[in-house]
Structures are given as structure tokens and as C-alpha cells.
Assembly symmetry: C2
């Protein structure tokens, strides 16, 4: 029995045998053997049978490489036949023996002979009568009597289980769970300790921890005169294991066996280095260990289990770190719908920002603010969100949109705020005028109705199902500490506001990798000077409008720098097209005309003339910086003044990082560097104090990557903006891709949504080119990514491989990224993934 | 005197001397010498003076490497002083001698001593009195007497000319004409044959061809007792050269000198291998040749001159091909504003499609059709054009738009149709509601007013200035024939309609490289089924709508195939987003609701739901092909049925090329290839006839280039769509770039508009990667480009270098491309550019 060729169950049993636990005689068939069986060639059956006691009943269980790849169900009691019935009746009574035979006939008929299961449902009787009817039914349907030869029975069972594994449905199912195309199946043939008979006989399941909480707690049931896992469904007849006020226990019924079982469980935990769920049988008072699998566990439980194993010295802290799936960690950061809660699903969308939120429906940002003022939690429902909705999003407990994908505005902001968010729920009918939301089945929800969104699954639910709170407990912090010790790539957070920055610090981000400044201009007191600036006819008028914004921006940055206490803060200068700040509806245009004291027709014309066909590819980023240089001048000044204001005696000095967006040519960087340095000199002179800053480039056009060798000498850092870079490499707008992305992924045109998982082939080649060329031209340059991909474990692996210094992601993805990065470093050091049991 | 170091004038004079023509004694100063002079260090002046007859007057002329890089004006009569005045008065009379001295004093004062020119304008007298006043004025202003030492005079002249060349203005001017930063200036010092004096004395200019037409015709003037080029401005006193009914001629006045001059001109044409303009002097009956420069010439004249030189055996046909600037050829294909015509410019835009057009202003496509129906040529004036305007564009003689750049819809269609077009004329105020166009100076033009647009310069002019017709004459065809013989890369045309295809053939395109099919769906009888198709809820309804379009598409393709007579026709399947076919205004929505028999609210909702943030990056191209496969099915069927319908006995079979747009992943190609092959099989079966076709990919996303090795095995050809590729590589929408592109180019952020000249650094690297990887994976693959860059000579050079098989461009750019490609091949063969004289 050699593990990688026989599967995890075989491997576990082998180890139990080596630990001298009382495991019934077992033979494991390798993947190759089982594959050969599926092809029609059986192993040496007489030799196989001869490995067991003559007359023993056998069971066959699947043993694939990973337990959760599935496999055919176990078949018990192989070897039962008319002759054995008679002899067994003497041991355990006629009815029990008949029951046992009947169960075998049923299992064999359905899973091996592939007869219609309804056949046996109709029998309606147990015991000897039921058995007789079942045997007759079998004979009629199969057109032969039930096979009596144990060797033939076993052969047929093996053949049917081998073939089931190779069927199309089973293959697709396990591939969906990550199995390779050629994943093999091993089979374990084991002599049965039937759990039926004279003396104390029965079977049960035990584990030492609670599956939901992960806390130490002997958990499981035992049922006399039962087999397999029947104890778990045995109701009131099943015993508790430990002494328990709720009812009888195995500890009382069979204290010695129980003590032994507890000892064995402890041995298994220590020696298999994992919390195991143990299947056991007591046969006439004697304990047998039949099987062990990893305890099923919630993410929270997995984390506590791993930490406790490490604290108990059973595994190393590094191994504990390897045992937690990074993606699962994000569950812990958010409230979730309780595992067993009833879910009345009224619609589905893209799970854009994890967590569950329950609230009253509101259809506008203003209503969201009003609802929150009334202390009524609300879900903001919009066709899509825009920057004007951000304050409403802050007020709401969750966001639901009709349009958009993983990187739509709602999704990005939602993840940044840790706000549960379901987007692209196109099959719900949104009527924003009538303020209704209609499910596919015609159920109408109105403003004020309570719904729940599950941003982890993408479901939209009626009412308020039970939820469980976020779980940032001691074990979480211990594990993340171990992860940080192992990590060799830094993790920063994308954070735009003081609140974001506080979250980032809370999740131990090592700085801010992307602070978008444009959101700062949507607040009510800023929008008017912003619009005046846009409408200004001369640089002087523009400067006048910007002078009003300067102290506000300075305050923004001062706060951020203070919260981050000397950690790096990378500020992206103004990026979006100016028309995003202008109204388009009649009402908004009239308001604006009033505010600017201009005729509506003038305002309308100006607004229209600023419109763009493809705003993503228009006058934004450094293009604005060069054509309307006053904006960047103001921002640079605000940053530098804030740098001085936030620097405190004795504390590490603030060294702001200024990032230029949408660069496509080195001259853009050269020109703006000159201008920003001039502002720095002016501020130094005015304040009579010195400071330093770092200037860098957001590499988000393919051309910036290709020309990195030219650009790098002008930059202290290069941060790859993988959202835009993906858009441009594919020629695919993230906001518009939602309409066909699911078709594309389901047809296999794209393996994954490239806005979700970094396209290492195409976008990745550009990243690698950009990293290599910029490093060669400027060896001291700092490299990073700051797109949505920054929080994705596969993408972090890629970034680490191409030699980036850090990745930056939404604050709420920081723990995921820390853990994923730690695992990459540990894997590189040779620390293995946990053995799959 | 060695040419590349002394400039073209020096070189020409050297050759005239070697041909034993009577050139006065000449000394040439090299670029280095002149540069040293500018630094303040004069050459050995006594030695220089000693090279000439003692007491001779001298002139100094500039000699830069290319004549049109400019340079300081010539200065004549150096050496004149009070003493020389007296002796010269004996030879040529006191007044003439004084006049000569006066001219030198003036020239010296203004250009060498840099005195105020007004000083001499006020003198108002000529002859001895004028001279006396001028000398006095000089002395007062310069605070020293007029220098009398000829050596000092010459030294000052040399110094001032050398310094003038190195001034900032002169440098910027010549750089704008293509001179390198370090372009040098040579100076030619020549003994004067003054053209004044006893016997027949005078000067003149002669050339053997007409500068405008290029036809043989002795052209020029001669003026007795004159210097330099005074004969050309001498009015009625100047003689014709050849006997002429309009007046007296040199032939009559000095038959021997004229005969000799004609002989010398013939020698110069044959031996300098070019049509020269000759400056000559007759000094007491003796002919002197002072200078020769290339005859100034229109493009049409240049072409005729080159062809005639080759036909006369003076140069080779290959050299003739090298002598024509490809870009200039496009002038010949269009009517132009006459060179001398008065231009009342009312606005300026981007010169998007060359040629001049005069017509009445109309503000809508419908008005354009009506105007043309009344036989009144019209200029279509729009804010921007969209596919719905195409029929109006066909009707108009020119298009003027407020928005857009070189690759906006109006520009692309305009160039395709050979329709003069000025776009992005943002400083004209367009009021489409009031139907007025207002110039910056406030002049208002209304519907029906006549304007002229100059698509060659970008000017918009009032009224109807004189124009000259297109010049596709015999010489043009002869030269293009020679070019085609030399060329080693094929040239195809982008052509969407039978009219385009006919133009393409007229310009000898070797097939159609890009036939866009979407324009076909905008015609009135097609738009309704198209919209029904878009609104269809099931594949079956879609097919029903498409079934109406099938015979129309089949007819489109049949016509194209027939016109192209077996030449390749590359058809790009449907590309634009579907919402382009839907109305957005209230009126259009109501019409559509009526046509589809649906409530307006439904129609509006559907139209809105199809809207996109960035249509360029949305659901279009193969993405539509995969998600709404019925469209491509219909188009493939139409193409295949047309293939059979257009194939004739005995003629080469039609082999259509089908191109998939906007590919970004190989699986897109794989899936659609399967579908299209299935359609081909079905058509073959139904018709009982066989045909072949080629399937290829439009590589227009960065990812398609990067992943070319994967894609190429599924494609017969790969055509790089450089418009979209440029947009995505820069992250820059061509439709939105107009707002800042001119700022960007003028600030040197981009060297050139990348939509105009291929960005070989960035976009070019992707092309090179795509070409190399696809060739490696599929050596037989055909490679080409089919963007707007196809007609640009630099871009063609790049395509040839990376091994493309053909370039495809607008029909009206085909001759430019043929000539440019020929020159590249000839240059590679070692045929040199013509010597610059």
C-alpha cells in the first residue's frame, strides 16, 4: 500500500495499522488495478479472497487521492448469501441476519446490478419477509437469481465501483472540484466487524472537536446493533459518546471501550497530525477502528484546529499556515448566512463582495442616508452605481445592482468598504421608477421590504435568514502572525478614505498601495468648486476653483498619513475623465446652471462637448495632468503640505508616494516630474522645511509595459494596474463584459474571468516584460501590482515569480493575500501541503 | 569642394565647373568652416581674398544640404566702397555705380550690421543722392562710417550669415522642414559678373520646363543692366527668353548668347540628370552661369519631369520612381485648391481626407440627399458622423465635423470614398438646431451658404476659390507601372461597397484586404430586419429576421466578387456592437416601437439595456459571433452562396477570405471555425458544388498578438488591425483623442499622432511579436495589416521589415502605398535617392 497510488483512505488505514490500532484486515487496490478492472480485467480474485478469513463479510470503500473528489459509495456485507444467512442467524438472530442480507441485496441491486431503486421502495417490509420479496424482485428484474458466490459478488462490486468512477458525470463533477482529468481511484477491501451480534455490538462515529466552532468537544454518536454511519441518523436510539445530561452515553454503556476509543482518537490526532473523524465498531465488546477521515470543518474551525495542533506541538506553525485555504479566510472577515439557515432565494447575481447583509430595500443613495438616519439598516438597490452613490453605499449595509461584473464600480467600492455586494443580478427585474424589484417567479418587492444579500454566494434572499458574525478571534491573529513571519512579499491595501486606512491597518497591511483621489471630489462641498474648475475658461479661473479644494485635499492626506504613521502611502493623482463630475439629467443640468450662473443651454452644450465615446480610453489620467496641469499642481501641493503637517518629531518622517495614472509614453512622466518637483521646491521654500517624496507610474497600458525601459529611469516605482491592463490587453471593458462573460467562461472560451484571475498568458506576459525591462533600466525600482488581482492567491504567486516587491489589494482581501503569500514562500522553502487524508 | 560637407549649391557649382561651363571663380566654405566662423573664428581672410581677381566684387550665397531647409539670403557686390565707386562709374556710369553701391550698403546695413530697415525706406531717393544719404544714415546709426575695407566687408558678411544659421528661429524653421538638429551651412563665395556695364550686360533666370505642368517650355526672363533675380520682377522691362509674341526676347536681343545658354541648359539637364533652374549673367556680351537649383515644381510637374527624364534615357525608370515623394501623390488623386487662389479661411480642423470640395452647407444626411437630388453640390456639416450618415456622405461632395480625429468615423469613411473631409474643427461654433456655423470672428454661415473645405490642409474657406482637377494622366500611370515592377510587398485596398471596389481596381489594388460588412446593414430596407433580429427573444426568431437579410448580403458579396474578378476579397464578419443599430432619441424610439409593435417603454428599456460604457471594448466582433452565433452563420452562408454565384466557367475560382474581428483567445477562433466549416459543408451539399475558402483573424487586441503562436494554427491568415491595436496599446480611443492630440504632439509627448503614423516602438513591437510567433507556429500563414496605417509610407516600411505579405489601405491611399513600397524595395536594392541639388 503506497499512498500516491492507492488514495487517501488506503493511506490512512495503512498508518492506523502501523500504529497498531485494531483495524480489521484490509487490502488496498491501487489506481492502476482499479483502472484495469474498469477496462474489464479483474485481479487475481481467489488470491484476494484468500487474504481474508474464510466466511468473513467484506466491505469495499473508495479511496481517491482527495476525499472531496467524491467517488462511489461504500458497499458493506459482501459475502452475504443464503448459506451465510443461516449461520449468521445463529450468531445474531434471524431477523438481524435477514436485515443485514436485505441491505446488501438492495445495495447490490441498485449500485452493482443497476436495477431500478423503486423496486425496493415498494417492498415496504423488513426482516425475513422483506428479504424474500427483495430476492424475488431481484431475480425477476435481473433475470437471474441473486448471486451466491462471494467471489463473484466481490468481483461485481469492484467492477461496478471502478466503472462508476470513469463515468462522464463523475469525471465532470470531480474536475469541477479541482481533480485532474486522469485522477485515479483506489479501492479498499476490508473485512467487516459487522456491529451486529451477541454481547455489546454496534457502530459509531467520533471526533474530538466541534465541526462548526473547531473547539475541543467529543462529538459523535454510537448505536447498538448498527453498521456504518447509522448511529448518526439513529435518533433517540443513538447514544452520546461522553457522559451527557441529554441522554445515555457510550461512556456509561461501555466504559472500557469508550476509554480505549478516546485513547485511540488521541493517538490518531497526534500521529496523523490532524483532527480525524473516526468510524468504529464494537463487536461483542471489542473495539475496531474501521476508517478515519479528516473532520469536516467550517473555515473558522479549520483555523482553530490548525492553531491548536501547532500550539500542542503536533505540527509546526508553518504547517498550520499551509493548512488554511487563503480564499476561505475572507469568510471570517464578514458576517455570513448561518450554515443551516433556510434560504428563500429570489434572485442570483455575481458574488462581488463577500458577506451577508439584511436590510430594507432603498432605491437611491438619498434614501439610504435617510434610512440609516432612522436606524433602519438598508440594502441599496441600483441599476448600477456611480461615484455619486458612494455616500449612499457608506450608509447602506449591502448593495445590489442589476448590471456590472466583478470589477464594476459597485463591486470595487463594495470590496473596499467590506460591504456585501451582489452585482449583475440581471434576472431580477429592476424598476427604479416604480421602485419595485420583481423576482423571476413574479414576486414583487417594494421599497422598505426586507431582503438579504449573500455576497459570498451571489444569492438574493427574501427576509432575514439567521446569520453568524465575523470571526476575527485569537486563533485568527495567531495564525496570521505565523503567516507574516513566513512571507517574503509585502502586502499593502488599496484605501481611499481614513476609514479604509483604519481597516487596512486593522488587517495589518504594510502601507497603502493605492489611494485613489477622485472619490474625494464627490462630496457635496467639493463638487461645486470641482465643477467651477471644469467650466473655467482660463488657467487663472481654474486655479481659483482649485484653491478652494486645496485645503480639503490637504486635510484628506494629513489624516491618511497620521493613520498610517509613517507607513508608505501611494497616492494616485486624479484619474477619471472630467465629465464624470457633471450631471447629465435635466434636473442636474438646471442646478448646475444655477450654481454657475450660466444659461442652461451653455451648460448643456459644455457638458455634451465633454462627453466621450469610450471614457475608459479618453481624456483622463496623465492626459489630464498634461492638458489641465493645474489639477496635479494642486494635488501635489496638498500632498506636500500634508507631509509636513503630519510629520511629528521623533516619529519616522512621512515619505509620500505620488503615482501617475494611465502613462503610455515616457515623456508624460518626464514632463510631470518636472512640474511636481517644482511644486515640491516651492513648498519647501514657503515652509522652510525639507521633505522627500517618491514619484512613480501606474503601468496600466500595454505600451507602458512594453516601454518600461524608457519609463523606469524617471520613476522610483512602477505599480501595475492590472484592471485597466486587462481591459486593454483583451480589448474588453470590465463594465461591459458582464453581459457575456459567463457565456464565455462556461463555453471555455476563457478559462476564467480575467478580471477575477490574472490572465498570466497575455496580461502576465506584459507584466513580466514590464518588470524585467524596468528592473534592468533601474535596478532600484520598486515593483508592485495594485489592481483587483492583488488579492488573488494565483495572481500573488505570479507577482512573486516576476519579482515584485509588493501587491496591493482591497483592505478586506489583505488577510487572504497575507496567507496566500506566506504559503507561496513556505512552498518555495519546501514546506509541503498537509497530507490529504 | 566635397559635397556632403559643403552643401548642395557648392556641389552643383562644382559640377558645372567640371562640365566646363563658364562659372565665375568660386570658393566654397565647408559646414565646419562656417560653424567655426559662427563661433567667432574667421578663416584665413587674406588667402580667401587672394583667390579672386584683385578688385573684383564678390557675392556670398548659402549652401545647405537641402535647398528647402532655407538659409540666409545671398549678399551681392561685396567689395564696393568709395574708391571702387569712382572706378566703376567710369565703366558703367555714375548713376549705375551709385545704385549698385547703394544696394550693397542697404543689404549690409540690414543683414550684417542689423540696423533698422526703416532707416532706408525713408531715404526715398536713388542714385548718388540716395547713396550719400544712406552712407550718412549708416554712419549715424552704426556710430561708425560704412566699412571700406573689402576684406572686412567679406568677413562681416560671412560672420553674419554663419550666425543667422545658428539662430533659434532659423533652426526651428528648418527642423520643421525635416532638417536634423545639427544640419550644417556651407557658404559659396563667388566673383561677380555684375550684369551692369558697357555692351550687353544683364542677368536672368532660365528653366526648360513649366513649374506647374512639368511640360517642356523654355521659361524665365532676362533684364539688361540687372543683377540676381531682378529680371523676374522687372515687369515690362524684362525680356522673354525665347522669341515670344507677347514681347521682346533675349533670342532676338542676343541670339548667340541665347543659343549658348540653351545649349548649356541642355548639358545641365543631361549631366546633372535633373531639370535645373539656371541663374545667368551676360557681361559685355559674354555669358556666365552663376547658379543652378532644381526647378521648383508642383507634384504633377515633378512626376512628368521624372518620367520624361527616364524616357529620355537620362535617368533609369527606377530612379524616376525614387524621385517622387509618395505622400505627395495623393494630391494628384483629388481636385485641389489652385495654388494661387485667394483663401478666405473661416476655420481650421484636421485634414482628414485630402482634396478640395465646394458646396452648399447642409446639416443632415437627409438634406444632403435632397440637395444632391436638386443637383446642388453640398458639404455635409455634422457634429460627428455615425453609420446612419453614410448615405448622406455618399451624396455630399465633402464633410465637415466639429469632433473627431484622423480615425474618426467621418475621416475613415471620407478617405474610403475619396471624399474631402475636415474633422475636429472645434473652433468653428456648430449650432445644429439653429442650423448655423459661426467662425471665430463671428461670421455666421447658414444652410445653403457656399463654403469650401480643403481636406489637404484642414482649412475651411468662405465661397468657392479656384480649384485644379485631379491629375491621373499618362505620366502617372507610366510611373506607377515602373513602381509596381519594383515592388516586393502587395498592396490591397479597404473597400466596403461595389463603388469602393471599383475605385480599388482603378488604382490597381491587388485585392480587397478589408471589406467591413456592418455598413451593409444601415440601408433603409435592412435596418428593420436588423433591429428585429436584435430584439428577437429566441434563436429561431433571430434566424427568421436574418433570413430576410441573407439574400441582400449574398447580393453584396456577389457584386464584390464579380468586380474583383478572382482577386482576393477579405471579408470581415460583423464587428460593431448591436446598439449602434438602434435609435436613441425619442422620435427614433417611437418609430421603432411602431415597427416592432411593442410599447415604447419596452423598446426604450431594451435599447438602454444594450447600451455600453465603452462600446469599443464591449460586446462586439467575435464576442457577438459566439454569443449570438446566428449572425455569423448567415454571413458565412451569404459569402459561400455568393462564391458559387460569382464563379464563372474558365475564370479563376473565387476563394473568399473570412476574417474574424476582435479575437483575444484561440478558443474563439477554434469555436467559430467549426461553425463556419459546418455552414460551408451545408452549402456544398445543398448546391452540389465545391469551393474553398480561407479563414483568418483580425489581430487587433494586444492579446491576439501576444498569443499569436496559439492562434495561428487555426488561421490561414492574420491581418493586424492597427487602428484598434493602437487604441488598446495606448489605452486611447481614436474618437476621443482629438481633444488633446494636438497638445500632445505639439508638446512632444508623442512624436506623432499614433493613429496617423504607426507607433513602431509600442504597437510595432506587438506587431513584430505577432508576426514572428504566428510565422513560427504556421509558416504558411499570410500576414498583413489593414488599419489606417496601411497607406502610410513609414508604416509600410515597418510592415515590410517584419515580413508581412501585404498591406491594405483606403482605395485612395493605394497609389501612395504602391509608390512607397516600390521605393522601399529599390532602396533595399541599393537604388539611391536623387542627389539633392
Amino acid at each position: 500500500m503506497s499512498p500516491p497510488t492507492h488514495g487517501s483512505r488506503a493511506k490512512c488505514l495503512q498508518r492506523l495499522v502501523r500504529l497498531s490500532l485494531p483495524v480489521p484486515r484490509t487490502v488496498a487496490l491501487s489506481f492502476d488495478t482499479v483502472h484495469t478492472i474498469a477496462q474489464g480485467q479483474l485481479p487475481d480474485m481467489p488470491a484476494l479472497i484468500a487474504a481474508f478469513d474464510p466466511g468473513a463479510l467484506l466491505c469495499v470503500r473508495p479511496s481517491s487521492q482527495e476525499t472531496d473528489w467524491g467517488g462511489p459509495g461504500a458497499i458493506l456485507n459482501i459475502g452475504m448469501n443464503d448459506a451465510r444467512l443461516a449461520s449468521l442467524a445463529e450468531d445474531i438472530g434471524a431477523e438481524a441476519a435477514a436485515g443485514l442480507y436485505l441491505r446488501f441485496v438492495e445495495a447490490y441491486a441498485v449500485h452493482v446490478a443497476r436495477l431500478d431503486p423503486d423496486l425496493f421502495d415498494e417492498i415496504g417490509e423488513s426482516g425475513a419477509k422483506g428479504l424474500a420479496r427483495a430476492l424475488a424482485a431481484y431475480e425477476e428484474e435481473a433475470e437471474e437469481p441473486f448471486p451466491q458466490d462471494p467471489q463473484r459478488q466481490l468481483a461485481e462490486v469492484l467492477r461496478s465501483m471502478a466503472r462508476a468512477w470513469e463515468g462522464t458525470t463523475a469525471r465532470l463533477l470531480r474536475q469541477a472540484r479541482g481533480a485532474p482529468v486522469d485522477a485515479g481511484l483506489g479501492l479498499v477491501v476490508q473485512e467487516m466487524a459487522p456491529g451486529l451480534g451477541r454481547g455489546e455490538c454496534g457502530s459509531g462515529v467520533l471526533q474530538l472537536v466541534d465541526s462548526q466552532t473547531g473547539l475541543p468537544q467529543i462529538t459523535g454518536r454510537y448505536l447498538s446493533q448498527s453498521q456504518g454511519r447509522e448511529a448518526l441518523t439513529g435518533g433517540a436510539d443513538s447514544l452520546y459518546l461522553e457522559r451527557d445530561p441529554r441522554g445515555r452515553s457510550l461512556e456509561e454503556a461501555a466504559p472500557e471501550a469508550f476509554a480505549l476509543l478516546k485513547d485511540y482518537a488521541g493517538v490518531m490526532r497526534r500521529r496523523l497530525r490532524a483532527e480525524m473523524q473516526i468510524e468504529f465498531t464494537i463487536q461483542n465488546g471489542t473495539l475496531h477502528i474501521l476508517d478515519g477521515v479528516l473532520v469536516p470543518r467550517s473555515t473558522r474551525a479549520a483555523l482553530r484546529i490548525a492553531v491548536r495542533l501547532a500550539e500542542d506541538g503536533i505540527i509546526t506553525p508553518e504547517e498550520a499556515v499551509m493548512r488554511i485555504e487563503p480564499r476561505a479566510v475572507s469568510e471570517l472577515l464578514h458576517r455570513q448566512i448561518a450554515p443551516g439557515a433556510a434560504r428563500s432565494v429570489i434572485g442570483r447575481g455575481i458574488a462581488a463582495s463577500p458577506g451577508a447583509a439584511t436590510g430594507r430595500i432603498v432605491f437611491s443613495a438619498a434614501e439610504a442616508l435617510a434610512s440609516t438616519a432612522r436606524n433602519e439598516p438598508c440594502i441599496l438597490v441600483r441599476r448600477e452605481t456611480s461615484p455619486e452613490d458612494v455616500r449612499g453605499m457608506h450608509a447602506a449595509v449591502g448593495v445590489l445592482t442589476e448590471r456590472g461584473g466583478m470589477t464594476s464600480h459597485a463591486a470595487v467600492i463594495g470590496r473596499g468598504l467590506g460591504l456585501p455586494c451582489v452585482v449583475g443580478a440581471a434576472r431580477l427585474r429592476f424598476n427604479l421608477q416604480r421602485k419595485t424589484l420583481t423576482s423571476e417567479r413574479g414576486q414583487v418587492f417594494r421599497e422598505g421590504d426586507v431582503i438579504t444579500i449573500d455576497g459570498t454566494s451571489g444569492d438574493v434572499l427574501e427576509g432575514s435568514p439567521a446569520t453568524v458574525e465575523a470571526a476575527l478571534d485569537e486563533a485568527f491573529h495567531v495564525l496570521m502572525g505565523w503567516a507574516d513571519a513566513a512571507r517574503d512579499i509585502a502586502i499593502r491595501a488599496n484605501a481611499d478614505t481614513p476609514k479604509d486606512a483604519a481597516t487596512a491597518r486593522n488587517f495589518a497591511a504594510q502601507g497603502i498601495g493605492l489611494c485613489r483621489t477622485e472619490h474625494m471630489f464627490f462630496e457635496a462641498d467639493r463638487l461645486t468648486p470641482m465643477r467651477e474648475m471644469i467650466f473655467a475658461d482660463t488657467p487663472k479661473d481654474r486655479q481659483a476653483a482649485l484653491a478652494i479644494l486645496l485645503p480639503m485635499q490637504r486635510k484628506d492626506f494629513t489624516e491618511l498619513f497620521r493613520i498610517m504613521e509613517g507607513m508608505p502611502v501611494c497616492i494616485r493623482l486624479f484619474d477619471p475623465p472630467l465629465h464624470e463630475f457633471l450631471p447629465t439629467d435635466r434636473h442636474g443640468l438646471r442646478d448646475l446652471a444655477e450654481a454657475l450662473d450660466l444659461p442652461v443651454s451653455d451648460v448643456t452644450r459644455r457638458v455634451q462637448s465633454l462627453g466621450e465615446y469610450n471614457p475608459m480610453l479618453g481624456l483622463r489620467g496623465v492626459r489630464l495632468g498634461i492638458t489641465v496641469p493645474e489639477i496635479y499642481d494642486m494635488q501635489a501641493r496638498a500632498i506636500f503640505e500634508a507631509t509636513l503637517d503630519a510629520s511629528r518629531e521623533g516619529a519616522p518622517p512621512v515619505v509620500p508616494e505620488i503615482m501617475l495614472p494611465l502613462v503610455s509614453a515616457k515623456r508624460e512622466v518626464e514632463l510631470l516630474r518636472g512640474r511636481i518637483e517644482a511644486v515640491a521646491t516651492a513648498v519647501r521654500t514657503e515652509r522652510g522645511r525639507d521633505f522627500t517624496f517618491r514619484l512613480g507610474v501606474m503601468a496600466e497600458t500595454p505600451r507602458a509595459c512594453l516601454r518600461a525601459a524608457e519609463i523606469a529611469p524617471f520613476a522610483h516605482f512602477l505599480s501595475f494596474g492590472t484592471n485597466d491592463l486587462t481591459q486593454m490587453t483583451y480589448g474588453l471593458s470590465r463594465d461591459d463584459a458582464g453581459r457575456f462573460m459567463s457565456d464565455y467562461v462556461s463555453q471555455g472560451v476563457f478559462n476564467e474571468d480575467p478580471f477575477h484571475v490574472l490572465d498570466t498568458d497575455g496580461v502576465g506576459e506584459l507584466l513580466a516584460i514590464g518588470a524585467e525591462r524596468s528592473r534592468a533600466a533601474n535596478p532600484g525600482i520598486t515593483l508592485s501590482i495594485c489592481g483587483e488581482h492583488g488579492g488573488n492567491p494565483d495572481s500573488i504567486a505570479f507577482c512573486r515569480d516576476v519579482g515584485m516587491d509588493y501587491v496591493s489589494c482591497s483592505s478586506f482581501r489583505v488577510p487572504v493575500a497575507r496567507l496566500a503569500a506566506a504559503q507561496l514562500a513556505l512552498r518555495a522553502k519546501g514546506v509541503k501541503l498537509p497530507p490529504k487524508l
